[in-house]
Amino acid sequence: MTPRRKRLLIICLSVAGLAIAAGLILTAFEKNLMYFYSPTEVAEGAAPESRPFRLGGMVVDGSILRQPQGLGVFFTVTDYAHERVVYYEGILPDLFREGQGIVANGQLNDTGVFVANEVLAKHDENYMPPEVADAVAAGKARSGASDGTPAGNL
C-alpha cells in the first residue's frame, strides 16, 4: 500500500470513528443530560415539567416524613427563597440528614412534588455540593434574607 493510500485510509478510519462517536455522543447527550435547578427556579417554572432534572438544596429541619409502610419518604428542600417537597422511595444515603445540602435526581409529578429516583449527599460534613451552595446563595439574594426571616425559616 502506498503511503498516499495509507494516509487516506487513516484519515477515513479516523473520520468514520469520529463520526460514529459524534453521533453516539449527540444522541446520548440529548437523552441523558440533566440540568440542575434550584427550588426557586422550579417555582418560577424554569424547570421542565416532563423531563428529569436535578434539584438541590438544604433539607429543611423537621420536614422528613416517613410513611408508616414501605420506604416512601417525604422531605422538603429549600434555597431559603422557595421550598419544594421531594418524595423518594428507597434507602437514603448515609449522610442524609436535616440541614444537609443534597442533590436529588428525578421529575416533577402532577401535584408539583419532585419524585426522586436518586438522592445524593456529600461525604463531607464541612461542605455542600457547589451547585447547592450557588442555589442557596442565589435564593437568599432573591428573598432578601437580610431581614432575618428567610423563607425556609424553621
Binding site: Y80, A137, K140, P150
Partner: protein, 175 residues
C-alpha cells in the same frame, strides 16, 4: 500542521480547566453584603443565662467568626485569630456553630480564646440565616451592624491583609 494539532487541542483543554478553577464555589458572593446582620436572640457560650441580641453588638466594627470544635479547618485559622486578639487588631466575636458547650469550652481552653465573647448557636439557626455552609466562615461587620465582607474557609494572613485590613482602615478597628 498535523503535528501541531494535539498541542492546540491541549491548550484549549487547559484554558477550559483554568476558567473552571475560577468558578470556585467558595467565592460565591454573599447576598448579605451591604445588609444588616440578621436579628437574633442568643445565649453566649460562657454563660447560658446571658442572652444577647443584635443591638448588643452594634456600635463598633468586629469580625464575626463562625467556628466549632468539630471543625478541622478551624484549627488551622485559630492561631491567626489568637494573634489578632493579642495585638488588639480588631474585636472578635465567635459564633459557636452546632456544637456542644462542653466541647467548645474545652477547645477554647486548649487553644486560647481570642473572642470577646462567643454566641452559642447549638441548633445552627443564626448560621442558617447567615447562609453558613462551611465552617469556618468569617464576617466583617461595621459599627452600624452592616455586613461588609464574608470570608469562606479558614482565614489566613494573606486573606486578612488583602480583604479585611482595608475594611478596618475604612470602618475603624472598634477601639
Amino acid at each position: 500542521m498535523r503535528y501541531a494539532l494535539p498541542l492546540g487541542l491541549f491548550v484549549l483543554v487547559v484554558i477550559l480547566l483554568a476558567v473552571g478553577l475560577e468558578l470556585d464555589p467558595r467565592r460565591v458572593p454573599s447576598p448579605l453584603i451591604g445588609k444588616p446582620l440578621p436579628a437574633f436572640e442568643m445565649e453566649t457560650l460562657a454563660e447560658p443565662a446571658n442572652m444577647l441580641s443584635r443591638a448588643d453588638l452594634d456600635g463598633r466594627p468586629y469580625l464575626l467568626n463562625v467556628w466549632a470544635s468539630w471543625c478541622v479547618a478551624c484549627r488551622q485559622e485559630h492561631p491567626l485569630l489568637v494573634e489578632l486578639a493579642r495585638r488588639g487588631t480588631i474585636t472578635l466575636i465567635g459564633l459557636n456553630y452546632k456544637d456542644t458547650r462542653a466541647d467548645a469550652l474545652a477547645w477554647l481552653a486548649d487553644r486560647g480564646d481570642p473572642y470577646r465573647l462567643s454566641l452559642f448557636d447549638a441548633d445552627g439557626r443564626l448560621g442558617l440565616d447567615l447562609g453558613v455552609y462551611g465552617v469556618p466562615e468569617t464576617f466583617f461587620i461595621d459599627a452600624e451592624g452592616i455586613i461588609r465582607h464574608k470570608h469562606i474557609g479558614p482565614l489566613d494572613a494573606g486573606a486578612f491583609e488583602r480583604d479585611i485590613a482595608p475594611l478596618i482602615e475604612r470602618y475603624g478597628d472598634g477601639s
